[in-house]
């Protein structure tokens, strides 16, 4: 069933995000075409910069819409009239959440790949070569600074990105699912829950800072900071690993909240 859900979910995404990204590549092609007529005239400058601005706006729109589509798809497919079909399929809530989250993540990756292709198209030629050279230089510098740790760092960064993107979606799913528990204005409630949750996080962070400042000596903060400062490789590994673990824990928490709301409190109107 998961395979079938994947198939239909992927199709639902592709029919929206593929044309959007193809348009972006089209804008890239147009921008590159404009560059063939490079000269010192004002007319060229206007057309050239317009194509660059259009491309930049296109990139922002593609990133934002792909992300918003992932959230919207979860809501419309499960909590509007489409939910009558989704929740009468012989599929568990866990499978629904898992597939929605994974496909949303794949869509984000797809968006990144398509934007990269579009960037290569609009910069095709010397600029593109320079971009790749700069990327190679950055990686080389990493290897010089961290030697054999670089591969592990790159791996940690990739895992962090995967987990963070998945967790971001899961947070929105949890808010939407919790919002469904309200008797009316469920979308507004979901938005309210999202902002309330962020405010609580801010308050908790502030309290943590106050505690650390108050018990600076008792907690041996100075010594810990010194140790971290003089062991940058360890500090980096620790930072990335902590980011992965915390994000994973939050992911599990949001998943549990979403699943519990769907399993125990589903109330389709």
């Amino acid at each position: 069933m998961v395979k079938k859900l994947f198939k239909h979910e992927m199709y639902a995404y592709l029919r929206t995000i593929l044309p959007m990204h193809m348009i972006l590549i089209g804008i890239g092609l147009l921008g590159r075409f404009v560059q063939l007529f490079e000269n010192d005239s004002t007319a060229y400058d206007i057309v050239f910069w317009s194509s660059v601005v259009a491309f930049c706006i296109g990139v922002v729109v593609c990133v934002l819409l792909t992300f918003i589509f992932g959230i919207r798809r979860f809501y419309t497919n499960l909590f509007t009239s489409e939910g009558y079909l989704s929740f009468t399929l012989p599929v568990t809530p866990t499978q629904h959440i898992f597939v929605k989250n994974t496909v949303a993540f794949i869509a984000q990756l797809f968006s990144i790949v398509m934007i990269s292709i579009a960037t290569c198209v609009i910069t095709f030629g010397d600029v593109c070569v320079e971009l790749f050279r700069a990327l190679g230089y950055i990686i080389k510098q990493f290897y010089i600074q961290y030697s054999q740790h670089t591969t592990l760092f790159i791996l940690e960064i990739i895992v962090t990105l995967v987990v963070v993107i998945s967790t971001s979606y899961m947070l929105f799913y949890a808010c939407i699912a919790l919002g469904q528990r309200a008797k009316k204005n469920r979308v507004a409630c979901a938005v309210g829950i999202f902002f309330a949750y962020y405010m609580i996080l801010q308050v908790l962070a502030t309290i943590a800072i106050i505690i650390v400042n108050t018990f600076y000596e008792e907690l041996h903060i100075e010594e810990i900071l010194n140790y971290l400062y003089y062991h940058p490789i360890f500090t980096n590994h620790l930072g990335w690993c902590l980011a992965i673990v915390i994000s994973l824990l939050l992911n599990l928490l949001y998943f549990a909240v979403t699943k519990s709301s769907i399993t125990k409190k589903l109330n389709l109107e």
Partner: protein, 232 residues
């Protein structure tokens, strides 16, 4: 006959409103049952509970001995009272969707019925009229070889000719060993196909009897009895 549906002390409350009030109900296989009651009597709430779209406040629903879940969803074909299809899909895509998820879906039956209606597989659902969209929904549901068909107001808001189409589609395509639960308040149109009737009002089951029993005991049709029981 085996039991297909059992509700025990089933209660559903929405804030201060009790939609279903500790009802007990049993349905056997191989019958067409009318769930009859005025608007707001609790028909749709009961149907949603059977399909796992609502969670009971108290009590249990068992479909073929199982609580609503993956197992029961394989056995229940549900027609909601509103259009629930993705409007961007074509008729063929929605048929493929049903074929993928329901092992009991009969693709050939669906295409035969669609062909009779003159709806081509490449037609987008959003281009269909409201009436045709409802017919496509009914065709999808009745193309399943389910154990329990739950149809929520299938003839509400359709013209008399379309009502005949809906009723003939149900009669000609349901699995005879299955139970069909039809919720409606338009009794005269479906009375001739019912084996059993359930009267529901304000979340309480007032009556559950066979159509023959109702006629013999009361000397009147189900429609006439309904008008008498639910008179304002």
């Amino acid at each position: 006959m085996s039991e297909i549906l059992r509700c025990e002390n089933l209660t559903k409350k929405y804030a201060n409103t009790t939609a279903l009030n500790s009802i007990n109900l049993t349905l056997e296989s191989g019958k067409i049952v009318g769930l009859l009651g005025p608007n707001g009597s609790g028909k749709t709430t009961l149907i949603k509970l059977i399909n796992g779209l609502l969670t009971p406040t108290e009590g249990t629903v068992l479909v073929n001995g199982n609580k609503p879940g993956v197992k029961t969803k394989c056995n229940v074909a549900y027609l909601p009272d509103n259009s629930y299809l993705n409007s961007w899909m074509t008729v063929k895509q929605i048929i493929d969707f049903f074929k993928d998820f329901y092992a009991d879906f009969r693709e050939d039956v669906a295409y035969t019925m669609l062909n009779r209606l003159g709806i081509t597989p490449t037609t987008r659902l959003k281009t269909l009229s409201k009436g045709n969209k409802e017919k496509v929904c009914l065709i999808l549901v009745m193309s399943r070889n389910a154990k329990l068909y739950v149809l929520d107001e299938p003839i509400a808001g359709v013209d008399p000719a379309a009502r005949d189409y809906v009723i003939s589609t149900i009669i000609n395509n349901y699995n005879p060993e299955a139970t069909v639960l039809i919720s409606t308040h338009l009794i005269s149109d479906i009375e001739q196909i019912l084996d059993e009737a359930i009267f529901i009002q304000n979340g309480d089951i007032l009556l559950q009897k066979s159509i023959d029993e109702i006629r013999e005991e009361n000397g009147k049709s189900v429609d006439a009895l309904f008008r008498e029981v639910f008179r304002w």
